[in-house]
């Protein structure tokens, strides 16, 4: 979707020469080390601060946009109810959508998993002799590893969303569902473009860099054999689907080549056109704070002389419907608001999650894709509930994060160190006497231990921030005993 900011910002005055942190990706079968990667990110202070500020700015613009809509909370309720209705009737609406699309002259395909999706699209391309494809950003295609698959069979895929293109040229995954290159500084983009597009390595002006990319991509767009898009919503009533972008790149991908293939997750179905009023009003306001994306495109049938294919993808979604704790995560409309508000995401960067879906949304989607690989992610949260508060479709995100911790513990998916620490904490917290003793000794340790004993490799907190000051009067319990115990006994029955 990427970010138009109505209040134009300027490049920071000073060029930045700090290298971009590049966390190593977990190998197949390995567990993602989110905390380790986040630590690396924080060791690049200029990047860490810029990321925090830019992502938080999106959250603030969302708040400003929300305040102009008196019915905002009603819209969230309606969006949530429409999704509940759609998901409890998903079989019916999917059939209606597929039948209507077919009647409109669209070829409809069904993919059980990511491999099916890639094979089906590959077959379409083979039949048409397609070698060069322009593509609009799609999280579903990221989920399916589509681009890597196509590289393997010699089909050239060009991303047309600027942020996604930057990530493609840098051979990196997107770090955010809306702004894929938000973790990069303009100096990083300048380096990537100098290497891959031959632009001036000493010019890191955002206007210059964007223009370089426009000029480099235009010939590829004109020359493409096929175009691909995802979809934000699919409408059962019409058999059509909606794609929202700010660059118009989905419209170029769909309208310049004669062959258009759209990959659509089965959870994107909404029953009626009139439902779109609710979702389009919420989507870009929640994402970036703008009233709508620059382009909101409704595709119902192939253009005259063209051919259109839809691939409906399950890839674990029908299975997730069965879990009463987690099915509502399928309501997600991928606005990214939960990431923008999350203190952990803002300070760890999306790449540290090592997954297609990052931030709070990722914490509840990724473990259902691979519980072992992503077993650390549900712990990357303070459970402050801010994600739930901003979610435009009212998914109880922080509660599902907490549920996932329990599921992973029951399934024995949690690392031993985390389990033993938590077990010890559990014993301590269960006994008031043990808890008070622990607090007393922690306080005296903080007061008297030298820094080398406090700030070391064993203390994850102390590596990136100062430990708290010890209160002068000891613990709250000490203070309470001293000041209130006697009074409260004599004043019992009074209400303050």
């Amino acid at each position: 979707m990427s970010t138009p900011d109505p209040n134009q910002t300027l490049n920071s005055a000073e060029a930045v020469h700090e290298a971009q942190p590049k966390p190593a990706k977990a190998r197949p079968g390995q567990r993602v080390d989110h905390a380790g990667a986040a630590r690396e990110f924080l060791h690049s202070p200029v990047h860490a601060q810029s990321h925090d500020e830019r992502v938080w700015a999106m959250r603030q613009r969302r708040d400003t946009a929300m305040e102009t809509i008196p019915e905002w909370e009603e819209l969230r309720d309606l969006a949530s109810q429409i999704k509940t209705h759609a998901l409890t009737h998903l079989d019916k609406y999917l059939e209606q959508f597929a039948d209507n699309a077919a009647a409109n002259g669209v070829h409809v395909h069904w993919a059980g998993d990511a491999a099916d999706h890639n094979r089906i699209v590959h077959e379409i391309f083979t039949r048409h002799g397609v070698k060069k494809v322009i593509k609009s950003k799609s999280m579903l295609m990221e989920e399916c590893g589509f681009r890597h698959y196509m590289e393997g069979v010699g089909i050239d895929i060009v991303e047309t969303d600027l942020g996604e293109r930057i990530q493609q040229l840098d051979k990196e995954d997107p770090s955010h569902v809306v702004v894929p290159a938000v973790h990069k500084m303009r100096s990083d983009v300048s380096q990537v473009f100098a290497k891959t597009l031959g632009s001036d390595p000493n010019n890191d002006d955002a206007h210059y860099l964007t223009e370089q990319q426009r000029q480099a991509t235009r010939p590829l767009i004109l020359d493409a054999d096929a175009g691909m898009t995802g979809a934000n919503f699919a409408i059962a009533e019409t058999g059509g689907f909606v794609v929202c972008t700010n660059e118009g790149n989905a419209d170029l991908s769909a309208n310049v080549p004669n062959l258009h293939v759209a990959s659509i997750g089965i959870e994107k179905i909404v029953p009626k056109l009139s439902d779109l009023g609710v979702f389009i009003r919420l989507l870009s306001r929640s994402a970036l704070g703008s009233p709508i994306t620059q382009y909101t495109s409704h595709f119902r049938a192939p253009k005259s002389g063209g051919e259109m294919h839809i691939v409906l993808v399950d890839n674990g979604r029908s299975k997730r419907l069965a879990d009463e704790r987690f099915w509502s995560s399928l309501k997600c409309i991928r606005c990214g608001a939960c990431m923008n508000t999350c203190p952990v995401f803002r300070r760890s960067g999306g790449l540290s999650y090592g997954a297609t879906y990052t931030g709070p949304l990722g914490l509840i989607l990724d473990p259902s894709i691979d519980a072992y690989r992503y077993s650390n992610l549900p712990f990357a949260s303070t459970l402050n509930g801010s994600c739930t508060n901003v979610c435009p479709v009212k998914i109880n995100i922080h509660e599902q994060i907490f549920e996932w911790r329990q599921v992973l513990a029951e399934d024995d998916m949690i690392p031993w160190t985390k389990k033993s620490t938590l077990a010890a904490a559990g014993r301590t917290l269960a006994s008031p006497r043990a808890y008070r003793t622990a607090i007393k000794s922690a306080h005296s340790a903080l007061k008297h231990l030298p820094d080398w004993a406090l700030y070391n490799k064993l203390n994850a907190w102390g590596q990136v921030r100062d430990l708290p000051e010890v209160p002068a009067e000891g613990s709250f319990h000490d203070w309470y005993r001293k000041h209130r115990m006697d009074q409260s006994e004599s004043a019992s029955g009074d209400s303050e």
Binding site: P4, P6, T9, I82, D116, L162, G248, P271, V278
Partner: protein, 202 residues
């Protein structure tokens, strides 16, 4: 490999064991101005915020002159103007059977909007107004004729229309192509048109 029947069967077996009704969606447009002038004012304010421009023709001014005036610093004598409207002639016809990629040389595409939306400052096109869909994205600049009487209040009203049920392609344009993917700096003209100008035609 699981196909249509298997996927639908899995959904039937797995979907939540309760049936929630579809809610009624109100129009939420009670507070919008009832008159055309009022709605036009709302439309212009948001259009400009989204990077679009409003070009009011001067008294007796032909629309082609309004266009030249509005785009003065972007056009020269050789600029290619592709017009799909009768009021402005242009110098480059667009035909439905044009190869889309052949439209890449267009400097300005002139289109008539089907309607506008005051809430978002959007103009709407279908393939009927576009003739060749790609022209609205390959052109460097877009000029749009809009009848102010055809401005809907908000998106709820816009979606009560039937256009999306009959047209193959229906699109809202809200200002020009934009991006802020590089360090959050807003740039117009990332991939599609670099500017969008709306001229009222009453």
């Amino acid at each position: 490999m699981r196909g249509r029947n298997e996927i639908l069967a899995d959904i039937r077996a797995n979907k939540p064991k309760f049936s929630a009704p579809a809610p009624d969606v109100p129009n939420y447009d009670g507070d919008y101005p009832a008159d055309t002038a009022g709605l036009q004012g709302r439309f212009i304010a948001v259009l400009e915020k989204m990077g679009g421009a409003w070009a009011e023709p001067e008294a007796g001014e032909p629309l082609e002159a309004t266009l030249r005036r509005a785009l003065a610093d972007r056009l020269d004598a050789n600029s290619i103007i592709a017009s799909n409207v009768g009021e402005i002639k242009g110098n480059r016809p667009v035909r439905a059977d044009d190869t889309p990629a052949s439209l890449h040389d267009v400097d300005v595409a002139v289109l008539r909007a089907r309607f506008g939306v005051a809430e978002t400052g959007s103009v709407c096109f279908t393939e009927a107004e576009l003739t060749a869909n790609a022209v609205a994205y390959l052109a460097q600049h877009l000029v749009v004729l809009l009848d102010p009487a055809a401005i809907e209040t908000n998106l709820h009203r816009a979606y009560r229309r039937d256009d999306y049920k009959t047209a193959r392609y229906t699109v809202f344009h809200t200002g020009p192509s934009a991006t802020a993917d590089i360090e959050g700096v807003l740039v117009r003209g990332a991939q599609g048109v670099r500017s969008l100008t709306v001229i009222p035609v009453r």
